[in-house]
Each structure stands twice: as structure tokens, then as C-alpha cells.
């Protein structure tokens, strides 16, 4: 088993989306179609606020204002406990689009997903969180966030990265330094949910950098997929 195997075995949820708008919304259509989601379009009057309807296996899942989708495309990045993040409307899309394939996400969008998983870990306050930002230099920017996560919660935190620079010592964080291989190619987070059985607290993100600043992968709240990623990380890098 490898991170590549986990990526290959991922089966996307059968999600379809209809955009209701007076305009063609090309940016959002392109973004959604790049996720291998069936996208339809229907016209509504120009005065109406555009929205999209998400269905899974034909059943209604959610309707989302287009403005909210735009916020996710260019998210404001704050810390996982900041009110600006907690109250961000676009967070609902993490639930709606979980389990779909994501391709052509940039680092900023990926960081927004990352914040969602960190937020859930912060809220639970216990359990194990595994994090790989490819390189330790990328991780350096996140040291203040992980320093607080490690000192103000009971989380057990494992950080992975290639040794392109020395990481400052972060108390209560275990750093796994790798010389090469898959750790340098994938951005991932996996949170085991601690002792909670609340649906959605167990979550993971796995994304491969397919070209500079362009990622493809998925995030999921499916316990089996999260467990598979956790098992691989524990078995390979413990």
C-alpha cells in the first residue's frame, strides 16, 4: 500500500450539480467540471441571486449561493480557531463536496480544506492528527498553528516532510523527516476523531501535486478511507 494506491482506489461519490444563473458562470463551471462532477445549467432571471443545486445519486443534497462558491475559490486564510474561519459560509461546501475528486486545486484552496480538518481536530481537542505538507519548509509557515494545536489541546500530532530545511522544535509535535519518496509528492491530513463517534469528525485529505501549485485528490469523512490512510502512515513511518 502507498499513498498512490490510496489515491487510485478512491471512488468518487456520484454527485451532479445544476447551476441556476442568468449568466454562464464559466469559472465555476470549469472548476466543477474539473472535479469530474456532472454539471448542468438552467436559466433564471438576471435579478435573481444565482445558486447551484447539488444532488447525490439523484437525491437532493444542498443548494448553495454562487457567491458562497466564489468565496471557496478565493478563500481568506485564517487560523482554524479564528471567528473569520468558523463563520465562513463556504465551509458548508466541505461537507457537500467531500468524497468528490478534486483536480486543479491550488495551494490556497487546499489550505482552506486543511484549515477545516485542523478546525475539527481543534474542536475535538483529542485524538491523533497526521499532517504532511510535502516539505518541512512548507511546514515552517504553519509552525505557529501547530504549536498552539499541540500545546492547548490533547492532540497527538505527527508531521511529515522532506528534509529541505530544519524545522524549528515544536513541543509535543513528532516530526517524521524523509529524504525522498511519496512524502514529498503528497499533501495530506488525517484526523482519527479521538474518542468521538460524531459523524464528520473523522476526516482526511489526500492530494498529489500534479504540476507546480496544482493538486489532485480528495477529502473525505468516510471512516474506512481515513483509517486506511492512518494505517498506511503508522505502518510505514512509525
Amino acid at each position: 500500500m502507498s499513498l498512490a494506491d490510496l489515491m487510485t482506489r478512491f471512488e468518487a461519490r456520484p454527485v451532479s450539480i445544476t447551476i441556476y444563473s442568468s449568466s454562464s458562470e464559466p469559472v465555476i463551471v470549469d472548476w466543477l467540471e474539473s472535479r469530474h462532477v456532472d454539471v448542468g445549467r438552467r436559466r433564471i432571471p438576471v435579478s435573481a441571486d444565482p445558486f447551484l443545486v447539488v444532488r447525490e445519486s439523484g437525491a437532493f443534497l444542498a443548494s448553495v449561493p454562487i457567491e458562497t462558491v466564489r468565496e471557496l475559490l478565493e478563500p481568506t486564510i485564517s487560523r482554524p480557531w479564528d471567528e473569520a474561519f468558523v463563520s465562513a459560509t463556504y465551509r458548508v461546501l466541505f461537507d457537500v463536496l467531500a468524497g468528490t475528486v478534486l483536480s486543479s486545486l491550488d495551494r490556497r484552496q487546499l489550505l482552506a480544506v486543511t484549515r477545516e480538518i485542523e478546525h475539527r481536530a481543534w474542536t475535538v481537542g483529542a485524538g491523533t492528527l497526521h499532517v504532511g505538507f510535502q516539505s518541512l519548509s512548507a511546514m515552517t509557515e504553519q509552525v505557529p498553528v501547530y504549536g498552539r494545536l499541540a500545546t492547548e489541546t490533547d492532540l497527538e500530532i505527527h508531521v511529515y516532510g522532506t528534509a529541505d530545511r530544519k524545522l524549528p522544535i515544536v513541543p509535543n509535535v513528532t516530526v517524521h523527516v524523509e529524504s525522498a519518496g511519496e512524502i514529498g509528492e503528497y499533501w495530506f491530513l488525517a484526523f482519527d476523531g479521538g474518542e468521538t463517534d460524531v459523524e464528520g469528525e473523522v476526516c482526511a485529505l489526500l492530494a498529489e501535486e500534479v504540476s507546480p501549485d496544482v493538486y489532485q485528490g480528495f477529502w473525505t469523512y468516510e471512516r474506512a478511507r481515513v483509517e486506511a490512510l492512518l494505517a498506511h502512515l503508522r505502518g510505514t513511518y512509525a
Binding site: Y20, I44, V53
Partner: protein, 125 residues
């Protein structure tokens, strides 16, 4: 002395009157349903439920989930579709799950579109 109202239909004529149209448009969710029907003429009831849900929540910048849609769909089935039918504004084929806009008198569609353009300054509640 009686005064015939200019919008009154003759007996046996199923053409909706202006009163009929206004009765339909008195409710914000029926208005949204009517706006969408005027755009497309004939839609599935399922899509109309989606549209009324999404449209009415988008006005307030809100996401709607399944429970929100169920609430709106129930009201559509119990009240609003029957009101639109009794007003002769639309007909519902319950076997096929399709709703069709009636032939509206001249100017009614323009009136509905004008109303839609006014909604931004007067959002449904």
C-alpha cells in the same frame, strides 16, 4: 348597478384573471415558482422544489440542506401547487410529475417578469 371588472373571465373560460394571478403571486414561494415557469414553461415538480428552495435561500445568502427542501416541498404540495391550479395559472400532471404554465393573457408574463426584477429590493420572507 353592477360593474364588470375588466379582468373577469367569462363563464367556462379557464383563462386566469388578474385577480387569479395576484392571488398566486401573494406568496413569495409561489412567485418564485411562477418566475421559473415563465422562463421555462414546463418543468418537473422535483426541479421546481429544488428551484424554490435554492432561490429563496440564495436571496438571503444561505445554504439549504435536505430538511430545508423538505419543508418547502411539503408546502408546495399541500398548498401552492393547488393554488396555482385553482387559479388556472398552471396545471400539474401528478402521474408524470410535471407542471406546465397555462397560456397567460397578453401582458401577464411581462408583469411576472417585472415582478421578478423587483424582488431584489423586496426579498421574500
Amino acid at each position: 348597478m353592477t360593474h364588470d371588472r375588466p379582468d373577469r373571465a367569462v363563464d367556462g373560460d379557464n383563462t386566469p384573471t388578474l385577480d387569479d394571478l395576484c392571488r398566486v403571486m401573494r406568496n413569495p414561494h409561489r412567485r418564485v415558482a411562477l418566475y421559473f415557469l415563465v422562463e421555462h414553461g414546463r418543468v418537473t415538480v422535483t426541479e421546481l422544489e429544488d428551484v424554490v428552495t435554492g432561490w429563496s435561500h440564495a436571496i438571503e445568502g444561505r445554504v439549504a440542506v435536505r430538511d430545508d427542501r423538505t419543508h418547502i416541498a411539503d408546502a408546495l404540495h399541500v398548498v401552492h401547487l393547488a393554488t396555482m391550479e385553482s387559479a388556472n395559472v398552471a396545471s400539474v400532471d401528478r402521474d408524470d410529475g410535471v407542471i406546465t404554465l397555462a397560456d397567460l393573457p397578453s401582458g401577464y408574463s411581462s408583469f411576472v417578469r417585472w415582478s421578478a426584477s423587483m424582488e431584489q429590493s423586496s426579498p421574500p420572507t
